[in-house]
């Protein structure tokens, strides 16, 4: 390619990609779908070219779709450029035979690691060449691949809600009564406990060992036995129910594998049964600190599918709510980070004090403190009253800036905090992009990639704000960038509050059942944790055919092994806090 990668527009990329690989790249011609279909045999070659020649250095999402009727499985990849611009979609189709095999892209983008494992776990797509293809959300030994269309849950009633058994003729039944075990159980035929041998966790420990040998941590290896420590799933500093198996040499981490799924609530599968609007409250419970940001991404995805505009006032309300959410998220992050470093409670109490004020606003507009369920397709559900707007103004203009200053004054120069954080490497730019890390961690590594600027959605292009970037990539920068982001959010809020117009809050009529034409959409927003995206496939029915969440916490965890190798176990807790994960989003 002669032109520098960043100046190529998407159309140009499309043209030159097809020109470059005429034999095995074709445009996806299904109505409502976009992107390319790549031949399975040449996937790695095309992906490498996309990364090296076309500049798509960040693999956003990998997911699978089971097209049962057409008897094929599709793997969908979304690649982005950290320099900005729209993303590129490419797909691979494989025959739906057992096992479905697709080459792994882990050598091209390491960020594919966990997402491919998830696709293996939930859809049974085998990624050949993946070095550690274990189940990730369910346990080893679980029967079946739940997101396949022919998998029926134990409480399965019908394909689409609302279920006839519950609505509206009064013949109410419980799901339990339909299951032979009277419980949420799906045992295979002829199952007998007597001759059942539960699977052990050998695979996990083998993969630990393998990985510690692969990345030889110097001479230290010869100095004695290694010890495996399991942290979690019940551990005060893993931010929920994350389990981490750590291999230690003395105090130094030689290898580390996160084990998740302890909060896997079957978001995707439940989403496929629900109607479009019914999914909205479920998105609240993904990243339960930021229900507003979660709503935003899903609303954008479905609006893209429906091709409807958003009411002007609603756009501003959305931005205001999301930015408030970002502020409280970062405040909690700081409080919890310092909690993890051993300063129990006091700093987090400061953070929670401010958070409560923001939650008051959420409660006033939506009726709930945390699970707001506030966005609708085309707008928001309720208007923001004048007195609430005034409250927000007070917060934004007086209280929050002063309190942020106060926290910074107390904390930033604190000797212990500086000693714990400064100079401890988290991620550099290459590592971060290679592992698909997004959000503050990527920006603290010196990559100014913020979706609000890189691919502006909603009305973010109307505001004057800076993308917070820091360049050292150490823990101290990762900590400071949260304060920077709070300040930028306050800047956005000030402008949004000034510019907010009157008018309707929804471009559509209020409706329970929306009509969504067939097609696919990828709605992404910059959530406080990183790039939050929803991949929705519709076939024109009342419920989505496929609903997938690209959760920033989950993908960011891919980098945790790289981050932690060679550091002391005491720093691991803080490094994990830096990623700012929320288990509801990691496990979904």
């Amino acid at each position: 390619m002669t032109a520098p990668a960043s100046t190529l527009t998407l159309d140009l990329v499309s043209a030159s990609l097809v020109a470059r690989f005429p034999d095995f790249v074709t445009a996806d011609a299904r109505p409502g779908f976009s992107g390319f279909i790549v031949k399975k045999e040449n996937l790695v070659e095309v992906a490498t070219a996309l990364r090296d020649e076309f500049g798509f250095d960040l693999l956003s999402s990998v997911t699978g779709v089971d097209y049962l009727a057409e008897n094929k499985m599709e793997v969908v990849y979304h690649a982005h450029r950290t320099t900005g611009g729209p993303g590129l979609v490419f797909k691979v189709q494989a025959e739906r035979v057992d096992p479905v095999e697709v080459p792994s892209l882990i050598d091209v983008w390491a960020g594919a690691d966990f997402q491919e494992r998830e696709a293996w776990d939930l859809l049974g797509i085998k990624f050949t060449g993946h070095p550690d293809l274990r189940r990730i959300l369910m346990w080893e030994g679980f029967e079946g691949h739940p997101l396949r269309k022919d998998y029926k849950e134990a409480f399965f009633e019908e394909e689409t809600k609302p279920y006839k058994s519950r609505w509206p003729e009064g013949n109410h039944t419980y799901a339990e009564f339909k299951n032979p075990f009277r419980d949420n159980l799906n045992l295979p035929e002829n199952f007998s406990l007597d001759n059942y041998q539960p699977q052990t966790e050998d695979q996990l420990y083998f993969s630990l060992e393998r990985s510690s040998q692969k990345h030889d941590v110097g001479r230290e290896k010869e100095m004695g036995d290694h010890m495996v420590v399991n942290m979690g799933p019940h551990h005060p500093s893993t931010h929920g129910v994350l389990r981490v198996a750590v291999e230690l040499n003395g105090e130094t981490i030689t290898s580390l594998k996160p084990v998740m799924g302890y909060l896997h609530r079957n978001h995707d599968k439940i989403g496929e049964r629900n109607t479009y609007l019914q999914i909205m409250p479920y998105t609240d419970r993904l990243d339960y600190f930021n229900s507003m940001a979660n709503n935003f991404g899903y609303a954008i995805a479905v609006e893209k599918l429906m091709k409807i505009p958003v009411a002007e006032r609603a756009e501003y309300i959305r931005v205001i709510m999301t930015e408030l959410s970002r502020i409280q998220n970062h405040l909690i992050f700081i409080g919890m980070l310092i909690n993890d470093m051993g300063s129990m409670y006091t700093p987090s109490l400061y953070a929670f004090e401010e958070r409560e004020l923001i939650l008051d606003i959420f409660e006033a507009v939506s009726g709930a403190r945390m699970m707001c369920n506030y966005f609708r397709f085309g707008g928001v559900v309720r208007d923001v009253p004048e007195d609430v707007l005034r409250k927000i103004k007070d917060l934004v203009h007086d209280r929050l800036p002063a309190k942020t200053d106060e926290m910074e004054r107390f904390l930033n120069e604190n000797e212990v905090l500086v000693a714990r954080l400064k100079g401890i490497h988290v991620l550099n730019a290459e590592e971060a992009t290679h592992h698909s890390v997004t959000g503050p961690c990527l920006r603290a590594a010196g990559v100014p990639y913020d979706l609000r600027r890189a691919d502006p959605y909603s009305v973010y292009d109307r505001f004057d704000f800076d993308v917070a970037v820091r360049y050292n990539g150490d823990m101290y920068d990762n900590y400071l960038i949260r304060f920077d982001e709070i300040r930028q959010s306050l800047r956005i809020l000030e402008q949004a509050l000034k510019q907010i117009p009157g008018g309707p809050i929804n471009s559509q009529k209020p409706q329970y059942q929306v009509r969504v034409p067939a097609g696919e959409a990828y709605g992404r927003v910059e959530s406080p944790k990183g790039e939050l995206a929803y991949y929705v496939v519709s076939n024109g029915k009342p419920n989505p055919y496929r609903y997938h969440v690209r959760a920033p916490s989950f993908v960011n965890l891919t980098a945790v092994e790289t981050m932690c190798k060679g550091v002391k176990i005491a720093d691991f807790v803080v490094l994990l806090a830096m990623l700012d994960i929320v288990m509801g989003e990691v496990d979904r």
Binding site: L137, M138, W139, G141, F142, E143, P146, Y151, E153, A154, F155, F156, A175, E176, P180, F181, D183, N184, L185, N186, L187, P188, E189, N190, F191, S192, L193, Y196, P233, H234, H235, P236, G240, V241, G261, Y262, L263, H264, R265, N266, K269, I270, R273, P281, Y282, R285, Y288, F289, S348, L349, F352, E353, R355, E356, L359, R369, M370, M371, G584, D587
Partner: protein, 214 residues
């Protein structure tokens, strides 16, 4: 505040002279035990999902659960009295929860916080979700809500205190004679699906029946 506490301790209808009211107390063993327990319920520092955040909020500055003698969150089950099941119980997590429960010393209480812990809540249909922790553990108080507000949580805790007030040493299950293991819940097995070993015979019968139908 101080006086109120002693009120709970004293038996009614005994007139203690005013000048020794803070020194002498006429009470029963049950009352003494219950009085001590209700003001020092130490919760297990244990969060599962969204509800855990409201639990933290209830501990934090505005709601301050410390007012009710419940601020001492213990990360180890060995020192905890109460397990606040705050969130969705998944099949994968359940063995860990049971293990924690078994490690807690008596007296121990279980509070199911929120819709998920009570019944599976919005996620009940999920293939990885246990429809309520009460399928495995004896629950003392259920708190509705998704998530319950901190006020609701505190109300639930007060309900638990009221329940503790009513217990009698003779009758509580952990002091009953010959029922040493009554608080031990056998560990479920993560097989092809979650298997409650207490129900294994039933499962086998059902599996055979299913086969017969097919």
């Amino acid at each position: 505040m101080e006086e109120n506490k002693y009120e709970g301790l004293n038996l009614p209808n005994y007139n203690i002279p005013e000048d020794i009211q803070n020194v002498v107390s006429v009470t029963t063993i049950d009352r003494l035990y219950n009085w001590g327990r209700r003001w020092s319920v130490w919760p297990l520092m244990f969060g599962l999902a969204c509800c855990a955040i409201e639990m933290i909020a209830a501990q934090a500055s505005r709601y301050d659960m410390a007012r009710f003698g419940m601020e001492v969150m213990r990360p180890t089950p060995r020192q905890a009295d109460m397990m606040l099941v705050s969130g969705t119980v998944t099949k994968k997590m359940l063995p860990s929860i049971i293990r924690l429960y078994n490690q807690m010393p008596e007296p121990k209480y279980v509070v199911a916080m929120g819709a998920c812990a009570s019944s599976g809540g919005p996620f009940k249909e999920g293939y990885n979700v246990v429809a309520g922790i009460d399928k495995f553990l004896p629950v003392d108080v259920y708190i509705p809500g998704c998530p319950p507000t901190p006020q609701a949580l505190i109300a639930g805790m007060i309900k638990l205190q009221e329940k503790i007030d009513k217990q009698s040493i003779k009758k509580v299950r952990w002091y009953e004679k010959g029922k040493v293991d009554s608080n031990y819940v056998p560990m479920p097995i993560l097989g092809p699906d979650l298997i409650d070993v207490r129900r294994s015979a039933e499962f086998e019968a059902a599996a055979v029946k299913k086969e017969g139908v097919a």
